[in-house]
Symmetry: C2
Subunit: 256 residues, 2 copies
């Protein structure tokens, strides 16, 4: 497993992914899970991948191949660089996934390996507002409705609570990034399959280019400050909360 | 799903469970998931159940039946009231589960329903220290090692982060209860299948009786204070944390 996150606020989009790839306990290595498709001034798209690495790598290969091929063919609309809108881009990814399933699913199934892949596709195309899509193994997809400020794939449960408590569409882009990094901190602390470094992309609405991209490891000063401060603050807050007096009473009156 | 939790600290044990039972969206009702087996002065045991309600109710029925029957038979050692130690008690539960599986698993499987049940058994028997066991659908089980202060069943991921940050074996029993309730708060906020009220039992080590038991709903004053204060504190802490200046800089310098 791994963890991928897309956050949408009024100011723009935050994308984040960890870099742990695990093919069993013996084979833990890092692999890039965020992929940018860009046409400066016209579109900025990010695809985050989770699941079987052989499937996600093949998918990326096919999507890039289609872009190269399309320059000399009539299928330009069926690429992430030319599809007319975000919905059509999600269809491009879903279609590519279905083509891969045709050759890969049966051999994998013979070895008991599920066709397991989940994707976040998000970004903005000129003429549209920013959007976030979740794409599933069968190639079907949903768009996050306006009232949903974030989407997650992979090990999403550990870091959900902090997002629910801190992020709304009114949050600043920087606050959304901060919440996203704390969400990853929670997932990394609680689950060995989510690991550093964290890749983060901040996209400013209507910029269509020049997104800020950062890779943050355990030695990143900001991330280190954030993790330490948050842990200290939580410990202080926890200590400051009242305790259930009926338990304290019971301990002081063991005979009752 | 639902959520069950057992915490072990030096002062004693905390048990907690929610009360949501869901057989689909239309049928949401409450059901007791914590069950006490006690012999005053000699043993105090708690069984928390999660999973298919028909299986867990049958299990409870069989365990209680065995206790009644044992008074007139030679199988007294095979009951939760008479088994000589906690390990033997876990065997009693595992054995009962295997007997139920013999008749129930196949009919359920014909309707596509898995034999899904998970259990926490914890408590203390005179002559032993307090212990916590996790019991799985096949009837096998593990004991939580000394360095593990808590065990969870059901929707456990949402509320794991807060436990990892706040509970060690040195925590007071009251602090462990507080952490447990905050863990439930996180699960309830993030997952519709975990619901109020919360049942909580606090057992003082070496007391062998007189555990404190509380059922807390949304109108419980302590729980309400805890939830409100915690949410406020988290929001304050989040706001007080530094934001990534490279995003702030990008927003102020859109041309770069």
């Amino acid at each position: 497993m791994s963890y991928g996150l897309g956050i949408r606020v009024d100011e723009g989009l935050i994308f984040a992914a960890d870099n742990r790839t695990s093919a069993g306990i013996d084979h833990v290595s890092a692999s890039r899970k965020m992929h940018v498709f860009e046409r400066a001034g016209e579109r900025f798209l990010v695809l985050i991948t989770a699941g079987n690495l052989s499937i996600t790598q093949t998918l990326l290969h096919r999507l890039n191949e289609a872009q190269t091929d399309s320059k000399k063919s009539k299928n330009a609309d069926r690429t992430l660089q030319k599809a007319p809108n975000l919905f059509a881009c999600a269809e491009v990814v879903g279609h590519a996934l279905r083509e891969i399933e045709k050759t890969e699913a049966a051999p994998l199934a013979r070895h008991g390996v599920p066709f397991d892949v989940s994707l976040i596709l998000g970004g903005q195309i000129k003429g549209e507002k920013p959007g976030l899509f979740l794409i599933y193994p069968p190639g079907n997809f949903i768009e996050a409705p306006d009232e949903t400020p974030y989407v997650q794939i992979g090990e999403r449960k550990y870091g959900k609570s902090i997002l629910d408590r801190t992020v709304t569409h009114k949050s600043s882009l920087a606050a959304a990034a901060k919440a996203g990094l704390l969400s990853f901190d929670a997932a990394i602390r609680s689950n060995a399959s989510v690991g550093m470094p964290i890749d983060l992309i901040a996209y400013v609405k209507d910029s269509f280019s020049g997104a800020v991209e950062r890779r943050m490891g355990t030695d990143d000063p900001y991330l280190r400050t954030l993790r330490t401060m948050w842990n200290d603050r939580l410990a202080q807050s926890f200590a400051a909360m009242p305790e259930p007096d009926w338990i304290t009473y019971r301990l002081k009156n063991p005979s009752r």
